[in-house]
């Protein structure tokens, strides 16, 4: 409490992951754990990017492939391919990315709005971007990503 009282700068931490030549940041508070790629069980009547479900210590957790979600082809699952387990509204999801790279500290004031640009991602899943040295990290809006991923499914059901 006392640290916050003095400084107006709110710091956030992001887990950065690599995906198709780009670097994305996931709010670290949403990240539950990071695990190596394991085979999942396919779920019928689900969109292609929903790879299936895995057993997370007895809980059944759906896993989606961020590449496929963003319409980038997945070549193959390699030893560095990882599943990041995130929790949104008390529900757990696995997100498959190419690799995990870093943890990034950034003040909220450093987050810039996303211009409309030719990334592989629809800008609606991004909440901003941060420039770090020469790199650029796109911040994923996990809530939105999973909510948007839910809606068309419910409609189809």
């Amino acid at each position: 409490m006392s640290e916050n009282a003095g400084s107006e700068e709110l710091q956030s931490q992001y887990l950065t992951v690599n995906l198709a030549e780009e670097e994305y940041g996931i709010d670290i508070l949403a990240v539950r754990e990071i695990r190596g790629w394991t085979q999942v069980t396919r779920i019928p009547q689900s969109p292609p990017y929903l790879l299936g479900v895995l057993n997370l210590r007895g809980a059944i957790v759906p896993v989606l492939d961020l590449r496929l979600r963003f319409g980038v082809a997945r070549e193959e699952y390699t030893p560095t391919t990882v599943t990041v387990i995130v929790a949104v509204d008390g529900r757990n999801f696995g997100i498959v990315v190419d690799a995990v790279s870093d943890v990034l500290d950034a003040a909220d004031s450093e987050v810039r709005p996303v211009p409309d640009m030719g990334t592989t991602v629809d800008t609606e899943y991004l909440k901003g971007l941060i420039g770090v040295d020469e790199r650029m990290v796109l911040l994923l809006d996990v809530d939105r990503l999973l909510r948007l991923h839910d809606r068309p499914l419910e409609a189809a059901a």
Binding site: M1, Q39, V40, T41, R42, I43, P44, Q45, S46, G52, V53, L54, N55, G58, A59, I60, V61, P62, R91, N92, F93, D150, L153, E154, A157
Partner: protein, 659 residues
Amino acid sequence: MSNAGLAQFQQVFIEESLEGLDTMESSLLALDEGGDGELVHTIFRAAHSIKGGAATFGFPEMASFTHEAESLLDEVRGGKRAIDKPIIELMLRSVDCLRGMFDRARAGEPLNDATSDGVRGELAAMMGREAPAQAGPARRAGDQAGAWMIQFKPHAGMLASGNDPLRLIRELAGLGELVVEADLSRLPALARLDPSECHLGWSIELKAPVRREDIAAVFDWVEDECDLSIEPKPTAVVTPAPAPAAAPAPANIADAAAARGTREASAESSSVRVAIDKIDSMINLVGELVITQAMLDTFREEFDPSRLPLLQQGLTQLARHARELQESVMGIRMLPIASVFNRFPRLVRDLSQKLGKQVKLDLHGEQTELDKTVLEKIGDPMVHLVRNAIDHGLEVPEKRRAAGKHEMGTLKLDAFHRGGNIVVEVSDDGAGLNREAIVRKAVERGLIKSGDGLSDEAVGDLIFQPGFSTAEVTTDLSGRGVGMDVVRRNVSDLGGSVVVRSKPAQGSVFTITLPLTLAIIDGLTAAVGEERYIVPLVSIIESVQLKPDALKTVAGGGELFRFRGEYLPVLRLHELFGCEGAKRTIEDGLLIVVEGDGSRVGLFVDGLVGQQQAVVKSLEANYRRVQGVSGATILADGSVALIVDIAGLVRLHGRRKAA
């Protein structure tokens, strides 16, 4: 007036009071049938505890309502008034009103409504008085202020009664911003200080426009053990800046505590009461398990082949203990079906009075235990069946006499174990199903071509068809038909089935078969391509391997095969679930004949891998419901397998064909 500290007790109070209301209701019904005077005392005691609890836990409206009912009961108890039909009627309605109040209390809505005011008035009128003024939020002047000054001086012995001043201050902090100043004047010299006594006093400024009662409620428990004054703070006086050192720290802690309390209260969950002997037996089993584990642990240090028999024995023991522990843990979720049965005496009484019929209710097997989830969901379908039995099954007394039966019809509810299932039967000795009317209606609705050659069983089954359940049908038919398809759907959602047997002029029996538990099922593991699916054993009739020519293709792409004189449709699991690498030719794979939702189909899979008990895990917890899948389970290798839902598959198949 709810605050974080009381919320959890309120929950317990509500649960206990609902049980009290059940007692009141069943005792009233027993009185109605000429029970003895002791019942009046039972009812009075139940009402009294609810009244006391309601006042303590901050439901004044409820307390005043119950007070009226209690006063009336007191007059009966004291012999001033004889118990008669109108009183019982009114008391039953009061019970309903209180139930409504508890529902609203849970939802956080205002407790009084038009009905409760009406019943309260009737209670008072019966005792020959005017309805009392509402115990609502009537306020005296000065009860409301923008800020309050509270002087709180606990007596020295307050701590001994388990009351913690810090908790009270935290609760106050939940009401608004606090400035707390400790009064150290009573603090004795260190040598004479007794740490078990309270020497401190506090002067608290609460900067929030709350009601006096809200503040007083915080101190409810310690009223007699402290000197307390609550005064509105004069608004004219300029509030001095709070002393920075003394106040903020405790106030902040209190804030956080209050916030945590609220969160805990909002994460509401239902609870189960468990008999202590069930818990004791579990503790015993865990003890055994630990001993076995310790024994097996010795093999880690040195393993000598001569001790192999010991190892095998240990593993056998471990398996046995694990199974027993599993059974007894599952047992926690098992509750007697009496809690569902108990709602029927009232329903039967009300309905039979309304319809001018005489009905005797016969309850059997109330102690049969069912999974709590099943129990919660079986109530509504049973109400449907009971209502139908009285409404359409049992005849009016004149008709019964004419048919040579006793005027009093009998409705029997029974619950018992059969195999791995629980069977619940609702039977009546009424007129039975009207075969001609059902067949006529079914033909009209296009469900069948004609009734010729249909077995009684098949005719009975027709009433469960959707579309057979409109109001028009019921009135026309003088048979059953109110939402029977809903009954069947509800039961099959629980993994069970419902069938009817009926004999003209002798009555009908509705038989509901339910699984013992929803948490673990017996299933066969079926392979489809690379994938494994669990097929619940209860829905499997048998599996067959077909010859290539046994398959008949019908126009529209459907496939049928002949099974014991019937033609059943073939559902190819790999098509429905889109599995790759599955066998396509019918003679290579296996047809599992399964039954779901009353219809039989052949499920085509590659083959069966084995049988296993599957611990059912929810897909919905993290994802959503998937049609044709009732859940998932974890296989021995740690991977996930889906459990197929036969009824869902049948519906899915129907939709695919229609599309």
